[in-house]
């Protein structure tokens, strides 16, 4: 079995659905960081069978991780100091999602306007409903089913 060592300072995203770590890597723009990032795919998991894990050696406060609450509720964020888990970061649904999902309404201006970002606004926090900022069409897919399209 492949072993990836502990990180000393930073955070670990655990319980990522198997195969989703690369899209999360891109959503969080981890490619733009110059710190160490470990992408672990298909790790064994008692709970999930298989899972992905991301280990990032940078200060968690530098990152906005709330988009993870939209992408997958089950992801846990472990904050690491001196090689130990010191806390779990709670994720809040972001008020706005920019270029995370695409508006599927063919009558929406986003379907033809060049360079217009696809923005969804949190319309109902309790029911976790997002609506397109422009046409107000509801994002109908369940959060678990949302795949990054942009």
């Amino acid at each position: 079995m492949l072993n990836v060592g502990k990180i000393e300072e930073g955070f670990v995203l655990d319980h990522i659905r198997a195969g989703k770590s690369l899209s999360i890597y891109h959503h969080l723009q981890l490619d733009k960081l110059d710190c160490t990032v470990a992408i672990i795919k298909n790790a064994r998991s008692n709970k999930m069978g298989k899972k992905d894990i991301l280990k990032v050696e940078c200060d968690v406060d530098m990152m906005n991780l709330d988009v993870l609450a939209f992408i997958d509720h089950n992801i846990t964020v472990n904050v690491i100091r001196d090689g130990e888990i010191v806390s779990k970061k709670e994720l809040m649904l972001p008020k706005e999602l920019k270029n995370i999902i695409r508006c599927k309404n063919p009558r929406c201006i986003t379907s033809i306007e060049q360079g217009l970002p696809h923005i969804f606004v949190l319309a109902d926090e309790k029911k976790e409903i997002y609506r397109c900022k422009y046409c107000e069409e509801k994002c109908t897919d369940s959060l678990q089913e949302q795949s990054p399209l942009l």
Binding site: N105, R107, C108, I109, T110, S111, I112, E113, Q114, G115, L116, C132, K133, Y134, C135, E136, E137
Partner: protein, 305 residues
Amino acid sequence: MRHLMSPLDFSVEELERLFDLAGDIEAHRGKYAHACAGKKLATCFYEPSTRTRLSFEAAMLNLGGSVIGFSDAASSSASKGESVSDTIRVISCFADICAMRHPKEGAPKVAAERSSIPVINAGDGGHQHPTQTLTDLLTIRSLKGRLDHFTIGLCGDLKFGRTVHSLINALSRYEGIRFIFISPRELMVPDYVTEMLNEKNIPYEEVIRLESIMHRLDMLYMTRVQKERFFNEEDYVRLKDFYILDRAKMELAGPDMLVLHPLPRVNEIAVEVDEDPRAAYFRQVQYGVYVRMALILTLLDIHVH
């Protein structure tokens, strides 16, 4: 700088001020005849809508301003592939305020984000048509003297009719409103509308026949039932007459009930009803001009003393 994208963009208090201004315009038209002298309204209509465009243009001309614009996409730079964002930046250099109609939902919002002049949504696909709703509200307020404590029937295509959804939303902010929805099952109001009414504890009923509730209405808002909305011809033939307002049905209504219609009317209101003093749909068109005049003054921040 403010824009108007949805009828809910204005608070109830702001609407009161807007309607007071519209009332003053109606009473003292001469006072406002030069209020917008030197100002230009751009009517950017990417799809034809003669009535709405002429209403905006009449409003601006009544205020002493002038009008430029285009009345369909083919005669605009959109036919060359220009984006809404670019068009509004250019229009901002020519005009002081813009009324935009576009077949794509949210297009006026894109324009408002990029614009340096106020933008009014003059209808974006099946999404919003706020000046129609403001027209409806001003008509009710002017003819009934209030926007609260009445029973309104909405009849016809309640499923696809955006004017109906907007009006329900707008009226749901006032106290004591009871809605009666009259439509075939296929064209009932969507769930999200009834869910909103349930959440706000606003009473509503859904019925199929217009005759059964005419006597209870303070107001009847008619819309057209289109044949193509029905699943089969048989249902259409069976139900279509339920939704045609004629003199016989009007006899069932109270003496003060008002009939409204966003127009154009096809055959859902018999011509014989036009002579009835309770038929308010042509007066409604006139209120549409007053409310657009008040809106232009408000968004341009022009005060007439």
